[in-house]
């Protein structure tokens, strides 16, 4: 029996101690008519050798591609040390650090993580993770509504990641919160004050500001922040943490800074792996800390006054406050945060800055090369970080298919999410792309586009 150590003799002795004659007898409190459990559609067990072979074959069938897809999940180089340490049994197989004295490793790491994320986003405090960027946005909206007390309206630009908006909607809908979508400028790809103004007539709890936005474009965050604050509403920043190595952090937006910053932590050392596990981060201003969902670690001392770390402010959480908790979240994404902390430590401020700068430069270089192809143009005039929206001179899906045959994933077709965007492609280049890679892409695309010339 895989992973069950009992010998026949053990079982006999144990049953004798219990005073039962068989293991089955231990289930005698279950009404017999409910015992219908036999599994009929679970295949027979495999040996580790067999499943290894199967998984290897499946992985090889999936293979590798030269990918220029971003759209919320980004390919970055992950130092080998990150996952070699993260998967050490002591991190990998431990539980949430309820017993502080037996969990100082995880607790101290999380405290370090909180420090790094607070600094990266320019905020005061951080929690120890949420599920992903999208749910973090939803939690932030709930926080803002709790904080605002009178309004249950959240303003969300259409430049926010479409999946995030869907998740936000799905989660807050049940609490009678109204999500209002704000249009954007079709030239710059940004939300301008003129787009906001009409929505500011009525009270709202928060304005969400994405930076960079879904089109890769940088929003005018200062103006937007100040506008919302003037209306006595909160500002929720949705940011790519990698971009913050180059960009003004949310804590410094406008006159007072955003109130809450959330985002997808994946760019910080987490593999793409088909979408997860990633982690959502959340930082905020100090006065919001008691509204924050999720675990928070604090530094304290032991009986001998030696410094140590514990879970703190647990009174916000479901296991203490139950129906009055700030959120229902319990298990979060601890191991991902472990990896992210090691990732940020290995890169340091200068390393992170270089990754961001090289990604940005690669995006500019690629855009330049692609724009030389007939019929390829940038859609928006706003500056970009490492992603850009282009129009192609033909049907995007067809062109992507042709690229895929060359083992290139050319980007994301935007039409599905923005029906008004015809033949628009969202393309990303991170630091992982070499000059050869960029050339390969532009040459291949050039060849393919001949057909549409």
């Amino acid at each position: 029996m895989p992973f069950i150590p009992h010998t026949e003799e053990d079982v006999k002795e144990m049953l004798a101690s219990i005073g039962a004659s068989s293991i089955e007898e231990l289930f005698d409190e279950i009404p017999p008519d409910l015992k219908t459990g036999a599994l009929t559609r679970v295949p027979p067990g495999m040996s580790e050798m067999e499943i290894s072979r199967l998984m290897l074959e499946r992985a090889q069938a999936d293979g590798f591609y030269l990918s220029f897809i971003g759209a919320g999940a980004y390919e970055h180089h992950i130092p080998a040390a990150v996952w070699q340490i993260t998967t050490r049994g002591e991190f990998y197989s431990s539980y949430t650090p309820y017993q502080a004295e037996a969990s100082q490793g995880t607790l101290q790491l999380l405290y370090e993580y909180q420090t790094m994320m607070a600094s990266l986003t320019g905020m005061d405090v951080s929690n120890a993770s949420l599920y992903d960027g999208a749910t973090a946005l939803a939690e932030a909206a709930l926080m803002a509504v709790r904080q605002h007390k009178t309004s249950r309206r959240i303003l969300v630009p259409r430049t926010v990641h479409p999946a995030y908006r869907k998740v936000l909607h799905a989660i807050v809908r049940n609490q009678d919160i109204e999500v209002v979508e704000i249009p954007f400028c079709p030239e710059s790809g940004q939300v301008l004050l003129e787009h906001l103004e009409p929505f500011g007539q009525e009270d709202f709890a928060a304005l969400v500001i994405p930076q960079p936005n879904f089109f890769g474009v940088l929003e005018q965050v200062d103006a937007m922040t100040d506008w919302a604050h003037k209306k006595h509403s909160s500002v929720i920043a949705v940011v790519n943490p990698m971009s913050l190595a180059m960009l003004v952090p949310p804590g410094e937006w406008g006159a007072q800074g955003a109130d809450i910053a959330v985002g997808e932590g994946q760019p910080l050392g987490i593999p793409l792996s088909s979408g997860g596990p990633y982690f959502g981060f959340m930082t905020c201003k100090h006065d919001l800390v008691r509204q924050m969902p999720g675990r928070i670690i604090g530094r304290t001392v032991d009986l001998d006054n030696k410094p140590g770390f514990v879970l703190t402010l647990q009174a916000r959480e479901q296991h203490i406050r139950r129906s009055k908790a700030t959120s229902n979240i319990c298990t979060n994404q601890g191991l991902m945060v472990t990896a992210a902390t090691i990732y940020m430590s290995l890169l340091g401020p200068e390393g992170l800055r270089q990754v961001a700068a090289q990604s940005h430069a690669n995006m500019l270089q690629l855009t330049e090369q692609l724009e030389k192809l007939p019929g390829v143009k940038r859609v928006y005039s706003g500056s970009c970080f490492h992603e850009v929206t282009l129009t192609l001179p033909g049907p995007v899906n067809e062109i992507l298919q042709a690229l895929k045959e060359q083992r290139i994933l050319g980007g994301l077709n935007l039409q599905e999410h923005y029906p008004e965007l015809n033949n628009a492609l969202l393309v990303c280049a991170t630091e992982t792309k070499t000059a050869d890679d960029l050339n390969k892409y532009s040459e291949m695309l050039g060849k393919i586009l001949k057909k549409y010339g």
């Binding site: 559609r41 992985a59 293979g63 999940a73 040390a81 539980y95 037996a102 998740v167 596990p277 304290t300």
Partner: protein
């Protein structure tokens, strides 16, 4: 020492630096970051050494017995980790076309099918990223169901007082009022209380079975009838599925929706606080509301089911498909075990729990429900000990750390005073249980002979008892240079 204290201005970890200088730059001056980032400037070795040493300060399944009730701390097979981390799986972008991920999607599809069998449900979606999100999604489906029928007066969710905190918290996140009902002396839901609580305002009942009291709800069929008769639906919190895996299928007990904590029953790692994965399964009538994406298999090809395929879906609860890597680990686990292995999980988890309960009882501990079988966990209460000696459940828990055992869950469920919820899990051997029982017995003697020593435990850990009150009062949540 904190990682920041290993930092020196100007120290560089060059092998992570680009060898080419990024020339092009086109970001408006006013958007460029000027303030420094408080990240360590450290060498690769210092980082590796720091986190390697930190890791050694943790208890973990790979190093200690961890009888943490309700958490199912079983062994996480190393093959699951290795195979989920095959480079192609790690490299795959969530938005990559489906035909570049047929291998991966095959695993996901098969896992969906397996979970249908395991739960006895008609449909499964893999997206929830943890138990609490599974609950949220489950209750959202209950709500969607009532709303679709125009049944808008159902405003309450019934939750037993023994329930996990996520249950009431979830109900509230779904806009419901929580009605708590009591537990009877035998650890079952008080049927009178249930009957009194149920009515046309009842949207549903959330139930953990076996319950967090470590016993099987004997009247579950009756409860199901009562709630259904009132027009409510039944939610099954599958956190304790390990106790009945392959014995009982929640679908057969009349439940309409279930979440399964794969990070418990399917042995994906807890990772010091996650990630988890908690697929939801539903009975026929909730099928239209399952969250997307799901995986379909048609004409030899796997593809995602999206809003187009499931028009009444409650939607998306994750930016992508949920915790794919966790699901891969669970998939490998279930394939390693197979149908028979899965069956045995609950048998040996139950054997271990009942054996340890018997041994601890013999040693002199008070069992909370001594007339009941333990499910895969059971409760010891120190109520009397505390009254006599002042030693609390938490004191005993800390003293266990000194002896090289992780503490059981303490003070949950909240209705049992000074309780320890003990779940040994099937992967532990009799020797380990015997050694644990012996350590518990030692502590019992210590309580009698040197209560003060036990009260000030731990003594043999690198740190002594930590001051929680100070932590909450003088908040220190980030390091300042």
């Amino acid at each position: 020492m904190l990682i920041f204290e290993h930092s020196r201005p100007g120290r560089r970890n060059r092998s992570q630096f680009s060898t080419i200088k990024a020339e092009k730059q086109n970001i408006p001056q006013n958007l460029l970051r000027k303030s420094p980032m408080l990240l360590p400037e450290a060498s690769e070795m210092d980082v590796v050494r720091h986190y390697t040493r930190l890791s050694q300060k943790n208890f973990s399944i790979d190093t200690e017995f961890y009888p943490l009730g309700s958490c199912t701390m079983k062994y996480n097979p190393r093959a699951c980790n290795a195979l989920a981390m095959l480079p192609q799986f790690l490299a795959r972008h969530p938005l990559a076309p489906e035909d570049t991920g047929q291998g991966f999607l095959a695993c996901m599809y098969e896992l969906q099918e397996i979970l249908k069998d395991v739960t006895g449900m008609a449909g499964v979606s893999l997206t929830p990223m943890a138990g609490a999100q599974g609950e949220l999604i489950g209750v959202m489906m209950i709500r969607a169901y009532h709303e679709a029928r125009g049944d808008k007066k159902r405003t309450e969710i019934i939750v037993p007082d023994a329930a996990h905190g996520t249950n009431p918290a979830t109900a509230v996140m779904c806009g419901y009022k929580v009605v708590e009902i009591a537990t009877d002396k035998e650890g079952n839901v008080d049927m009178a209380a249930l009957k009194a609580a149920v009515g046309p305002q009842t949207a549903g009942l959330m139930l953990t079975n076996p319950s967090t009291l470590g016993v099987f709800e004997k009247n579950v069929s009756e409860m199901s009838r009562i709630v259904h008769d009132a027009g409510g639906l039944l939610y099954y919190d599958g956190a304790n599925l390990n106790a009945v895996l392959g014995k009982v299928k929640p679908g057969d007990m009349g439940f309409d929706v279930i979440h399964i904590n794969l990070h418990k029953t399917f042995s994906t790692p807890h990772g010091g606080g996650g990630p988890g994965a908690a697929p939801v399964g539903v009975a026929e009538r909730l099928l239209p509301y399952l969250p997307v994406p799901m995986v379909a298999y048609e004409k030899g090809v796997y593809r995602w089911l999206t809003e187009k395929d499931v028009p009444h879906t409650i939607g998306r609860l994750s930016a992508h498909m949920g915790n794919a890597g966790v699901l891969l680990r669970a998939y490998v686990y279930v394939r390693l075990l197979g149908a028979k292995g899965m069956n045995r999980v609950s048998e040996y988890a139950t054997l271990n729990a009942n054996y340890l309960m018997a041994e601890l009882s013999k040693v002199g501990f008070e069992i909370a429900f001594p007339t009941r079988r333990a499910s895969h966990e059971f409760i010891v209460t120190l109520k009397e000990i505390k009254e006599k000696t002042g030693v609390t459940a938490m004191n005993l828990a800390k003293r266990l750390l000194d002896k090289g055992y992780h503490a059981p869950t303490t003070y949950f469920p909240i209705l049992i005073p000074e309780c320890l919820l003990i779940e040994p899990a099937e992967t532990e051997s009799k020797e380990t249980l015997d050694a644990f029982a012996a350590a518990m017995k030692e502590i019992l003697v210590e309580i009698q002979e040197q209560a003060e020593m036990v009260k000030s435990a731990p003594h043999d850990m690198p740190l002594r008892k930590l001051d929680d009150v100070k932590a909450a009062r003088e908040l220190d949540l980030t390091w300042k240079p």
